[in-house]
């Protein structure tokens, strides 16, 4: 079922829930198309018939209460769920028209196109420099000048250059939490991916560090397609162009952030946004 590619709004009745595919709005069209995507952890199903198209060059936020499957969905996009025993998937995820769950798909090549930032900063126990250029190193790039250039570009992009330029050789573990998270963003962007996946990137940070990261996301949105999972609805409202609301493994509503936050069509979205549950 190539539902995701459908350009018009097309409600699908599915177990009493309405799953909505969003109209393409971005000038460049959709970069990721998800159609009828199901995921099981062993016997229990975590995602039900998720169906959406992620627009190129925009920031898309996934919101919803804990356990609704938004992180699972995000981790399905670069196949990080492959690492978990007993995970099965069904349905389509297409990156630029190619099915990433195809048996011939190259997972490593896929992950090179999808930068990922995790909930907790996870710098490697190496120097700041080596952390940033890690994606290039695994590609076998060893030319010092190329690496230095990539490192500076990525660190500038993550607004960390000024703070870190004099201590590139020091251990990344000596940075503060907020700096570490920006370092992880620099690392995720150093390989120049197409899509940046962010899994609650600010949940372990203090408000000032959070503000910096949000500012950064604004800047990144021009260059990358960003998909961000967040618990913080203000954050979603502030940084994203599109918002998807998920509930109990289903995509309930997906559309313009403004629309979702002002005139949600589903009562559950309304309830969540106004804080009645979640």
């Amino acid at each position: 079922m190539a539902v995701a590619a459908a350009p018009q709004q097309k409600p699908i009745a599915q177990g009493g829930y309405k799953t909505v595919c969003h109209v393409k709005r971005g000038p460049a069209g959709a970069v990721l198309e998800i159609g009828g995507f199901n995921l099981w952890y062993g016997a229990s199903q975590a995602l039900f018939e998720v169906c959406m198209a992620v627009e190129k060059g925009l920031v898309t936020a996934l919101i919803g209460p804990s356990g609704c499957g938004k992180s699972t969905l995000l981790r399905s996009l670069n196949r990080m769920n492959d690492l978990i025993d007993g995970v099965r998937t069904g349905g389509l995820v297409k990156l630029d028209g190619e099915d990433i769950y195809d048996s011939r798909a190259d997972v490593i090549a896929l992950r090179k196109r999808m930068g990922m930032v995790f909930q907790k900063p996870n710098p490697f126990p190496m120097s700041i420099f080596e952390n940033v250029v890690y994606p290039l190193r695994v590609d076998g790039v060893n030319d010092r000048a190329t690496l230095q250039e990539a490192c500076e570009r990525a660190l500038r992009g993550a607004a960390l250059w000024e703070e870190a330029k004099d201590r590139l050789g020091e251990s990344a573990l000596g940075l503060s939490g907020g700096q570490q998270q920006r370092l992880c963003i620099a690392r995720a962007t150093a390989g120049e991916p197409d899509v940046l996946l962010m899994d609650e990137p600010c949940s372990a940070l203090d408000p000032i560090a959070t503000a910096k990261i949000e500012e950064l996301m604004d800047e990144l949105s021009g260059q990358y397609t960003v998909i961000i999972v967040t618990h913080n609805m203000q954050q979603a409202a502030r940084v994203s162009d599109n918002t998807a609301f998920m509930y109990l493994g289903r995509l309930i509503e997906y559309g313009d952030t403004e629309e979702i936050f002002t005139t949600p069509s589903d009562p559950r979205t309304q309830d969540y946004i106004t804080g009645r549950f979640g």
Binding site: K120, N122, F124, A204
Partner: protein, 581 residues
């Protein structure tokens, strides 16, 4: 069923008067106070046992080499003896002994419940008295004196001599009484004699040993040619001719060396020193036969320290003498070290690779569980079983095959087909590999998931992630496992007794002959040395100091390895696990 249970409790509940049952103060039991004391007591007991053991070994080991005074004891029967008082104890006097005593001492002993004290003297002079040690009961003693001229003489043969030096004869000079020599002259003469002795040893063991080695090589070449081409073949003839030619050459240098050694021996036999022991007999021996002599009661602290240091030096740098009860343990230190090194070289890659596969690549199923449980159980198999396995499999099957294929010319004397350094290391590697596997698996499991995910999300393959992220991060744990295995291997004795450790190894596993490292040779080991000196030698009392000193050395070796494990681990930890925030 549940219904009735509920109704029962609910029926009983109102019958209780809550205020009467509950008390406001917490009882000692509820606070767990007695258990805390029990646990603390158990810990204290354990710590005390370990500390006590260490103190005992350390004290005995450290004090063993310190020169003791020499007592001259005059006994009630008129005889005299001289020796080092080694230890004292109280013992019940037998009725026969009591019967022979005069009335005054008998009354004193009876007043003390028939118990008397006695002292063990190291009287030395085994060649005269046929005993090294002698118990002297307190009631036998008339006087005890510490004469300054009494000397403690460590000899190369017959153990120590206790007596006073009376005369010395240097070369072709006539024998002169000791008073005619100054202390410096005695020292110089002794030093010269020792240098001569070293030279003789070098000639006979080193040079002539080398000639013998080449002769043996020639014989083996002939044998190999005969085995390969037949006894009457042209190749065998050529080899025989070459060997004879070489033997002629070698015979020339052999004659030169043995001539020099003979001359030195003759010269050595003219440098003599004579001692008078307490019983009035004299003993003349070559000056080079004296390893060390000192007037025990005439030493200042510095002299005593000098003797102490020189004994330690001899212990650490020389070969054993006197059935291992004297001299040094250098071959044993070397053997222990070489074996442990080889053990690590085998066990580290093997254990780490196994654990990596088990933890990272194998599908976690029933088979892997069985393998893992089996590995853990391997650690519990008695070590002697490994020894039997090592002898049967490594030495006899593997080594026997190697001998037949590569060293057929040496048969029937085995090369690899008997116990040796290599087989000992492999046996101990089998014994200790579970330690490394378990430690490595735990270290790998402890690498946070976020690290692996971070690396994989950057587009790294699984192997790149393991090599760049997981292994460095797990390294402290892996190192700990390896060094614990090393420490365990260094201290293990039982299996080694079957697969290669010997009481006295004539050759070190490393020497100047190709291929320089001889893994097939049997070797000496500190742990076995302790067992041998303490329990297998003719004179266990004489070996006692050696047992303690060697124990101190072995404990120090193992402690040093464990300490380095802790240091390496904490250093790596600091490097890889900074604060998260």
């Amino acid at each position: 069923m549940p219904d009735s249970a509920i109704s029962k409790t609910s029926a009983m509940a109102p019958a209780r008067a809550p205020d009467a049952v509950r008390s406001r103060s917490t009882s000692l039991r509820a606070r767990g106070e007695p258990f805390v004391w029990l646990l603390g007591g158990a810990l204290a007991f354990g710590v005390m046992m370990i500390v006590g053991f260490l103190l005992l070994v350390l004290w005995n080991g450290i004090a063993a080499f310190f020169p003791k005074p020499l007592a001259e004891v005059r006994l009630t029967d008129g005889s005299k003896l001289a020796g080092e008082p080694t230890r004292r104890e109280r013992y019940p006097v037998t009725p026969e002994q009591l019967g022979k005593l005069a009335s005054a001492p008998r009354a004193a002993i009876l007043a003390a419940d028939g118990v008397s004290g006695r002292t063990l003297y190291r009287i030395g002079n085994y060649d005269i008295y046929n005993e090294d040690f002698r118990w002297v009961s307190d009631f036998e003693v008339t006087t005890v004196a510490y004469p300054a001229q009494l000397m403690f003489v460590e000899r190369r043969e017959w153990g120590p001599l206790v007596g006073s030096a009376v005369a010395m004869k240097l070369g072709n000079e006539a024998e002169r009484p000791m008073a005619a020599f100054s202390a410096a002259a005695v020292t110089a003469a002794h030093r010269e004699a020792l240098a001569r002795w070293e030279r003789i040893r070098h000639l006979e063991r080193g040079e002539i040993g080398r000639i013998n080695h080449y002769l043996e090589q020639g014989r083996l070449r002939v044998r190999r040619a005969e085995l390969r081409h037949g006894t009457a073949s042209a190749e065998a003839q050529t080899a025989r001719a070459a060997a004879e030619e070489q033997a002629r050459e070698l015979q020339k240098s052999y004659d030169a060396f043995s001539g020099e050694a003979r001359d030195l021996r003759q010269r050595d036999a003219t440098h003599l020193i004579t001692f008078a022991e307490i019983g009035g007999k004299t003993k003349t021996l070559p000056l080079s036969g004296v390893v060390r002599m000192y007037a025990a009661n005439d030493l200042h602290l510095m002299d005593k320290l000098a003797v102490y240091v020189s004994r330690w030096w001899e212990f650490l740098s020389d070969e054993p003498r006197e059935a291992n009860t004297e001299g040094g343990v250098l071959p044993a230190i070397f053997g222990t070290f070489a074996m442990t090194l080889l053990l690590v070289l085998v066990v580290a890659p093997f254990g780490v690779v196994t654990a990596l596969y088990l933890r990272e690549y194998a599908r976690q199923g029933r088979l892997v569980s069985i393998v893992r449980i089996s590995v853990n159980n391997l650690a519990g198999v008695p070590s002697i079983v490994y020894g039997v396995f090592g002898l049967g499999f490594f030495a006899y099957i593997l080594g026997g095959t190697i001998d037949q294929v590569f060293f057929s010319e040496r048969l029937p004397s085995p090369t690899f087909g008997t116990g040796g350094l290599l087989w000992s290391s492999l046996t101990l590697a089998l014994l200790t590999v579970p330690v490394v596997i378990v430690a490595t698996e735990e270290a790998l499991a402890a690498v946070p998931r976020s690290m692996r995910e971070g690396s994989l999300a950057c587009g790294a393959s699984k192997w790149q992630t393991i090599r760049n992220i997981v292994l460095p991060r797990a390294m402290p744990g892996i190192m700990t496992g390896i060094i614990l295995a090393m420490a365990r291997g260094a201290g293990e004795v039982a299996p080694l007794m079957l697969v290669g450790v010997v009481k006295l190894a004539p050759e070190l596993p490393i020497d100047g002959f190709f291929p320089y490292i001889h893994l097939e040779r049997s070797f000496m080991h500190l742990g076995f040395h302790i067992f041998d000196v303490g329990f297998q030698s003719r004179n266990s009392e004489a070996g006692k100091p050696m047992v303690f000193v060697t124990t101190v050395l072995l404990v120090a070796l193992v402690a040093a390895m464990n300490a380095s494990a802790i240091i390496i681990r904490s250093r790596l930890k600091r490097k890889f696990q900074g604060s998260q925030f």
